[in-house]
Symmetry: C2
Subunit: 221 residues, 2 copies
DNA sequence: GATAACATTTACCAATCGGTCAAAAATACA
DNA sequence: TGTATTTTTGACCGATTGGTAAATGTTATC
């Protein structure tokens, strides 16, 4: 009973190397948490729900994560890189309109392949981004500002219509993420065959037209 | 104790005309509910929270509304008309690009003046629109389809670039509502003075450029 | 196969959830 | 004013919430 090592946190060890089971179960839990959080929002989700979705008991889940917040933070940290990847690829050496086109394509692919991630971000921001503000303000803000500079440079070189670069980025985010975040609406409003068979192709074709024609340099005032 | 009229629902009378106090308190409650629902989502909101926001006790609130769902449904019913007003004004007799421009302006005004309403809709749709599906499928779908026809007609007449009319509407919704729904993100990413002083003016100027230039008829393939 | 560390479960909290009830207080109306 | 109706309140309910304690079962390692 002499305090050799049992004074350490009984939770899944923070310093020591992680077990195979720990890696696997943390992964299963995060996957389940993504499902539940993106469906009901953080406050609407329950730990029991996530535990069931992960196929384990609640106390067992809480052996790996200290609580609801911990799971959300774990998710957001991991998701950030995936979610920012398309913007990171935004290259100032390319042809402006081609780069924008490619960026839209990549964002649409993200909306199609990672809709839950998109919805989780959306629901967090919708509620004031309480768990995201730090990440947004630091890492993301710098990335954005650097890309804004690139876009500004293109406009100064006459390769792109003069416009507000921030709002240009916002419009690409909103139009593309819309296909993940508002999917329930699309499903109701779009003709069934258009929704099932070609909504992402149609979206890409339309957005290509809108942005490429809309941002052509000769169109600037 | 003879059953003369006390077998009626003790809730706020459904058939009988409404009292002044009833009108006022129902209004206060819906206002508070809008605040809370739009901040935390339906499942994340609590009746106590709404009661406190409305300045009354929970049992008192439940004297006017039968429960959480009842408040949400009351809100959604009332909000629908406000929210669809800009689209209703979309006029097929006008100049296409001017109509689109005006529509964008009206939608931006909505995002600025009714951000909570926008967020409530967004959070409902994000979670699969469980309470909205009926309304979406019926009333809204018809309105959308009629406006899609108008846009199609304009394109057939060569007054508008050929593109998918559904996705055209989606892109207007997403870009404009973005300024209400993702406000927390804008606040972090936009330079402070740009956010505080001119985000909606900047948005309007940018979106005018994007849509008007992007949808000019000569630009169609 | 002993043993120490890891993993899981059962039983259980206190707090909060949506909602009810009956009685009291305020109001409207004669 | 008296009285019927409407409005408000405090006390309370069972269910669910996030989370814990302690005992039990399972693994890896020697």
């Amino acid at each position: 009973m002499l305090g050799t090592s049992e004074t350490m946190k009984p939770r899944a060890q923070s310093t020591r190397r992680k077990t195979r089971i720990q890696r696997e179960n943390r992964e299963r839990i995060l996957e389940a948490a993504l499902d539940v959080f993106s469906s009901y929002g953080f406050r609407g989700a329950t730990v029991d729900q996530i535990a069931i979705a992960a196929g384990m008991s609640k106390p067992n889940l809480l052996y790996y994560f200290s609580g609801k917040e911990d799971m959300l933070q774990g998710l957001l940290d991991r998701l950030l890189d995936i979610w920012l990847a398309p913007l990171r690829k935004f290259d100032d050496r390319g042809e402006p309109l081609t780069e924008i086109r490619n960026y839209i394509k990549r964002k649409l692919d993200m909306a199609r392949d990672y809709p839950r991630e998109s919805r989780l971000f959306a629901s967090e921001i919708l509620q004031g981004a309480p768990h995201l503000k730090e990440l947004l303000g630091a890492e993301i803000k710098q990335l954005i500002d650097s890309k804004v500079d690139v876009i500004q440079k293109w406009m100064d070189q006459g390769k792109l219509a003069r416009c507000n670069p921030y709002h240009l980025l916002f419009s690409i985010w909103s139009t593309t993420q819309h296909y993940a975040d508002f999917d329930a609406q699309l499903k109701v409003l779009l003709p069934a065959e258009r929704y099932n068979d070609s909504r992402f192709e149609d979206a890409e074709q339309y957005l290509d037209l809108l942005f490429v024609q809309g941002l052509k340099p000769e169109n600037s005032k």
